[in-house]
């Protein structure tokens, strides 16, 4: 009885997790720019991962696999914001730099950074143009 209940629950969670994974992937394609796409990717590594790993934990029962899955979940929750932040920070150093209203000093700095980044950008476009 409890076994079939657990199976049904984990099946539901796996299905919901797959739905959120697909939603994140669709968002990655549909959203207009770099930063909004990053938010879509955030769905796949929070709720979708939680649902799928949680469902697997229910299936694993009281065994060593349960602890290992728990460690995987914890690891993903610690590393994914770090990776997202690294991405956003890298974008700040490129031509994707966010506009910062009401901040002339940093806006100038942004302009300077953009100018400095331009030669590299031109090199990039010539590289891709050759393909």
């Amino acid at each position: 009885m409890i076994d079939s209940l657990l199976n049904a629950l984990s099946g539901l969670m796996l299905a919901a997790g797959c739905f959120f994974m697909v939603s994140g992937a669709v968002g990655l394609v549909r959203f207009p720019d770099f930063y909004t796409r990053m938010h879509a990717a955030g769905v796949t590594d929070t709720l979708a991962t939680f649902l799928i790993v949680g469902a697997l934990m229910l299936l694993a029962g009281w065994s060593l696999a349960l602890f290992k899955l728990g460690l995987i979940l914890l690891f993903i929750f610690f590393t994914s914001p770090t990776a997202s932040h690294a991405l956003a920070k890298a974008a700040q150093h490129s031509e994707l730099r966010l506009e910062q209203p009401g901040r002339p000093a940093t806006a100038q700095a942004g302009q300077a950074a953009r100018n400095a980044a331009e030669p590299a950008l031109e090199a990039d476009t010539t590289n891709t143009g050759r393909d």
Partner: protein, 156 residues
């Protein structure tokens, strides 16, 4: 000293949960490797209140529960935005004032912002945090400072 003990307990738990072989020989190897890692961490000066925030431990489960509910909510918002297309989102970015004092609090706050989908902490400068949000409501919610209040309760 208590940071060393905390590190020992955490490393031992990770070793035990990942090994699955509980013979005297392998347990001995595990013990030696845990001590070895602690010795390295200590020589690198990594064992302190920042790497082992044991003081936070009693209040952490409550915060995790609150953050988890927040993550589920914001996931639903972002997924709704995905399926509604361009009309469902209003991407904005702004600097949000930061009133937390400790480095630990700032890191927790910025990581929590990034962990909830729909908002990403891009940069921390002095007492402001640059946040990009998928919807303008997401920024308004951060400005109301509910999450900041939770983090401040945690660091005190």
């Amino acid at each position: 000293m208590r940071y060393l003990i905390a590190l020992f307990l955490i490393l031992s738990f990770i070793w035990l949960a990942n090994s699955g072989h509980y013979t005297a020989l392998l347990l001995g190897f595990g013990f030696i490797s845990v001590l070895f890692v602690i010795a390295i961490a200590r020589r690198m000066g990594l064992v302190d209140h920042e790497s082992q925030p044991v003081g936070l431990l009693p209040r952490l489960p409550g915060y995790y529960w609150w953050l988890f509910r927040k993550i589920v909510q914001s996931n639903l918002t972002v997924v709704a935005g995905v399926w509604r297309g361009r009309a469902g989102i209003s991407p904005t970015s702004a600097r949000i004032p930061l009133r937390l004092k400790t480095d630990m609090g700032k890191v927790l706050y910025a990581n929590s912002i990034t962990l909830t989908p729909g908002t990403v902490a891009v940069d921390i400068e002095n007492d402001e945090i640059l946040v990009h949000s998928l919807t303008s409501e997401g920024l308004d919610e951060l400005r109301r400072g509910e999450m900041e209040k939770q983090v401040r309760a945690l660091e005190e």
